[in-house]
Amino acid sequence: MIEVVLKKRRGAFTLDVAFRTADPEMSSPGVIALFGPSGCGKTTTVHAISGLLRPDAGIVRIGDATLFDSMRGIDVPAERRRIGYVFQDARLFPHLDVLKNLRYGANRAREEGPRIDFDEIVDLLGLGPLLARRPRRLSGGERQRVALGRALLCRPRLLLLDEPLASLDVARRAELLPYLERLRDRLSVPMIYVSHQFEEVLRLATHVVLLEAGRVVAEGDVTAVSIAPELRAAIGSDALGAVVEGEIEAVDSAAGLARLKVGTGRLMIQADELSAGRRVRVQLLARDLILGVEPPRGLSVRNCLEGTIVRLAPDAARTHLVEIDIGGPRLIAQVTTSASAELDLRVGRRLWVLVKTVSLRGHVYPALGAHPAPRNAESREATARTTEM
């Protein structure tokens, strides 16, 4: 369990955040994403969690360890918190080679904490060829990988990642993301991931905390936050789209399609590397959805999901946002006000949601648990979960 309550005044800026997560029922302890625009207090929050910044008041509790509690006068110094921190700018020690950078944290690690094997980390992050090099001779992506390894090797109870991809170009980002996914799925270290790119959140997070101007405006799992009205304010209607998760039921490799069960319906997605049984996460962009008030016929669209309107709200620029329950999961669609009036959309109305399989391309992500279970699972729960898989 992670519990964070922080209050901090810094000039005109006031940070006032609180969030907590229970242990998710998954093979990995999960990733909390702190998401929000620049200057909303994300970095200040992780700084305070790490102990590098002292909040005016609050609580930081990870598992059964209380690291900060202003009421009880507890303030464990940063060097004894065992919280790994991957900074935006890597912050590798320039006078040490990669091996010594990695050993720096490892040499100071305590006996307690998750067992992290040096060779496994080097292997997972592909650091082998870099060990003898100096940080100056590494690319941006390589530096972040070393920083990740260094933070993990101090056997942290929590890993903080402060926009580790922000200083990288698009190609490097794409290169680093799979490493992060692997770490998330194979190590039993919970992570707090700071980002202002919703796509990173989609790929990595199990729990999302949406921040705005120093406050938490929405919180929950990715599917819930993806349809929160507050998210629209943060990312705009164009990027808005409900996220659904589901297991692949069947794969038609000849057609290159996979069938995904979503609520009471089915979704066809283009899938080259997917196999039945894998869990995936799909984002259906609000502006890609087509609504029909009767069952459609004679269309090329592969996906038709039946549902009920649960909310209808005006959006900017003469459009409406329609929230539809499709038997559990919810979708969000953007339609023009005139279409909304013509179809007589209102709460409680039954309708059919159409989405082209092609428009889902690029919006399918592996869901948590899609990778093999942790090799080093220490806790009993983790072992039990492993045997289930």
Binding site: S50, G51, L52, P77, A78, E79, R80, R81, R82, I83, G84, Y85, F87, D89, R91, F93, P94, H95, D97, Y104, G105, R108, A109, R110, A132, R133, R134, R136, R137, R150, A151, C154
Partner: protein, 231 residues
């Protein structure tokens, strides 16, 4: 080179006094450089000015203040004499103290400049990796500010070789005790037919200064290379 025994004595004394002054101010200089570069405290500006005072004061004035404080009848001098039997005024130790005080700001300045160029973010990173205050200073801050430490040491040593005013005021001009190269040179100039001796002493000072500068340049270059290149 053909130096008289007295001239050798002055040469040796200069080296010994400069070395001792550098050794005694090194730890304090590192501490004060760190304080000035990394800490914010009330009176910091005033403290900064005080540390730099010897740079702008006439050396004779510094020697005089030392004499007032550390003379046999001065408050600190009397206490040292009574408690430890240590006398500083008119001794080699005193000459080293006067030299240390004069070259102290040079040392602090060099160290502080290089400390200010060390990214505090690296110290934060070391902290999150489990390093306590002394640990991170020794393993991150100090190695990264090493070029400045060495530059400070060499500059202070070179300047210490030539310290005149403060030494002659506080420690006097005693052959074999406090008569360093510049003092011997001055004495030679005051002596009839001392021109040849003065020339020799000037040449020695010149050579020492050049050697000091060359060594400091070499050390700095080596350090930078070590930091930039793979091991």
């Amino acid at each position: 080179m053909l130096l008289s025994p007295a001239e050798w004595e002055a040469f040796r004394l200069s080296l010994a006094i400069a070395l001792r002054s550098v050794a005694m101010s090194l730890p304090l200089a590192v501490a004060i450089a760190w304080l000035l570069a990394r800490r914010r405290f009330p009176g910091r500006t005033l403290f900064d000015a005080f540390v730099h005072l010897p740079l702008v004061l006439p050396p004779v004035a510094v020697g005089y203040v030392l004499l007032l404080l550390f003379g046999i009848h001065g408050p600190l001098g009397a206490w040292l004499d009574r408690s430890f039997g240590v006398r500083l005024a008119f001794t080699t130790d005193g000459a080293a103290l006067a030299t240390a005080v004069m070259s102290f700001p040079l040392m602090v300045r060099a160290m502080r400049l290089s400390l200010e160029s060390v990214d505090p973010g690296l110290e934060e990173a070391a902290r999150t990796l489990g390093a306590g205050p002394l640990d991170r200073f020794a393993t991150v801050t100090l190695p990264l500010m090493m070029p400045g430490v060495l530059a400070g040491l060499v500059t202070a040593f070179a300047a210490g070789l030539g310290e005149f005013g403060a030494v002659i005021t506080f420690a006097s001009n005693i052959p074999g005790e406090t008569r360093t190269l510049p003092l011997a040179l001055y004495t030679a100039l005051q002596t009839p037919n001392g021109d040849a001796e003065a020339a020799r002493l000037a040449a020695v000072s010149f050579a020492l200064g050049l050697a000091g500068l060359a060594i400091s340049e070499l050390l700095a270059r080596r350090l930078w290379r070590r930091m930039a290149e793979p091991a």
